[in-house]
């Protein structure tokens, strides 16, 4: 349970880190909070020859809150987002998801970007980021900036669109305009803070008559990546959110999922959880939207 030998450089700037990535390619790995990478190295599932520490780079820790967009630096620690109550008026789903992430010991080190690029299929921040339709900005020394939408970012278990020479620098969360917007996040895990057996997230908008005008929702832990369901979301639009409609949509989404089995939960049980949790968050988000102004 000890990591294989490696060399270590603390990057002095993002450019410095990108230069090292360009030079060392797949032998190098960026190290931020290390809450996913260090355990993987301890178990020898990862054996990078060089770790480039980017945890102290202040240019990765910026937080911009604008009218139409929230931009969070990839290096912002989860414990810092946890206390950013300003986010609740624009992208409340981020902090709703964060309530389920790890424990204080891990959130004090773990970063937003670290969770996204690690891309554990059951992780909460990737699911929330997908449901919100965020855009990732990736930098590399030769390619400059590349923008990837969340729907094209998560490619498989622990596998994203980030290439060996790229660094995720910021995440742009679009802010929905208008009132009556609600959101909710729910999950089932063996113990609070553990990996989810299944999770569900939703954001939706109602009009003054209580008719759904816009919806986005997704499931975590039931496929190789977090899943969103833009096609099914359209079924909610123009409709009143009823228990029957929600159950129909949630079961359709669960049927599209492809959960695995392990010692904690079988595939059928995870699919069942997916439908139950998704029904729950759709109703919660609708109630939240009704209560909102």
């Amino acid at each position: 349970m000890k990591a294989a030998p490696f060399d270590y450089v603390r990057a002095e700037s993002t450019m410095h880190a990108l230069g090292l990535l360009a030079e060392h390619g797949g032998d190098a790995k960026l190290l931020a909070g290390g809450q996913s990478l260090v355990p993987m190295m301890a178990m020898r599932l990862a054996r990078p020859a060089l770790l480039v520490d980017i945890h102290r780079l202040t240019d990765l820790k910026s937080i911009f809150i604008e009218a139409g967009r929230i931009t969070l630096g990839a290096g912002v620690r989860q414990c810092e987002i946890e206390v950013k109550s300003e986010l609740d008026s624009s992208v409340p789903l981020v902090r709703q998801a964060l309530r389920w992430v790890g424990h204080s010991q891990t959130r004090n080190r773990g970063t937003l970007g670290g969770s996204l690029v690690h891309a554990d299929p059951s992780a909460e921040l990737p699911l929330a980021t997908l449901v919100l339709g965020a855009t990732m900005r990736l930098h590399s020394q030769t390619g400059g900036e590349r923008r990837v939408n969340a729907s094209d970012f998560f490619l498989g278990p622990m596998f994203t669109a980030v290439s060996e020479s790229e660094c995720l620098v910021t995440v742009d969360y679009p802010v929905w305009q208008g009132g009556r917007i609600g959101s909710a996040f729910d999950e089932t895990a063996i113990r609070h803070g553990d990996f989810a057996m299944a999770s569900a997230a939703c954001q939706l908008q109602l009009d003054a008559q209580g008719v759904c005008r816009r919806a986005s929702f997704g499931l975590g832990g039931v496929s190789g990546t977090p899943l969103s369901f833009p096609g099914l979301a359209q079924r909610l639009e123009g409709e009143r959110i009823s228990a029957a409609l929600v159950a129909e949509v949630a079961h359709a989404a669960a049927r599209e999922s492809d959960p695995g089995s392990d010692m904690h939960a079988g595939a059928e049980y995870r699919r069942h959880l997916a439908a139950v949790l998704l029904s729950r968050v759709l109703l919660q988000a609708a109630n939240d939207a009704l209560a909102a102004h």
Partner: protein, 163 residues
């Protein structure tokens, strides 16, 4: 060829400790093997059990999930640094004894770190806050009730000065 050693200066329990370490040395191995501070326990070594918790610049972290090189220039408090004076116990440590909040003692240093961090932020925590604070720490013998009792006992009376 093994990677070269890195020089680090980590302040541990108030004393700066310069050392040369292999990059792959975890912070917990640094504390135990380099400094002889064996109060911090090594449990799972992959971030599940919480036995290795220490305070890093005042915040609880898992010292098995970071390398000592990452703590260069930072300040670490271990269980050995929680008491106000040598030969004394902190109020929470004393309450752990009073309420039988430990049996085999393996989880105890991590539990104490988690509880001290909680009380530093919330001098009079609710039961829910206590349970949330220790949720990342596994105990396999006493269960958790006595630990919750101990924190409530330590924080119920006249504040929690010194934690």
């Amino acid at each position: 060829m093994p990677p070269s050693l890195k020089t680090v200066e980590i302040k541990v329990n108030g004393i700066v400790r310069p050392r040369a370490v292999e990059p792959r040395t975890t912070l917990v191995d640094f504390l135990r093997d380099e400094l002889g501070l064996t109060g911090t326990h090594v449990g799972c070594e992959h971030g599940v059990c919480g036995a290795c918790s220490v305070l890093l610049d005042g915040q609880p972290v898992r010292s098995c999930c970071m390398f000592a090189v990452q703590a260069d220039g930072l300040s670490v408090t271990t269980v050995e640094g929680l008491a106000p004076e040598r030969g004394q116990l902190s109020k929470i440590q004393d309450s752990f004894c009073e309420k039988h909040a430990l049996q085999c003692g393996y989880c105890t240093p991590g539990m104490l770190i988690a509880c001290h961090a909680l009380v530093a932020a919330h001098p009079h925590p609710s039961e829910a806050q206590i349970r949330e604070a220790i949720s990342g720490n596994l105990c396999r013998c006493t269960g958790y009730q006595q630990i919750v009792d101990a924190v409530q006992h330590a924080t119920a009376t006249e504040g929690a000065e010194g934690g």
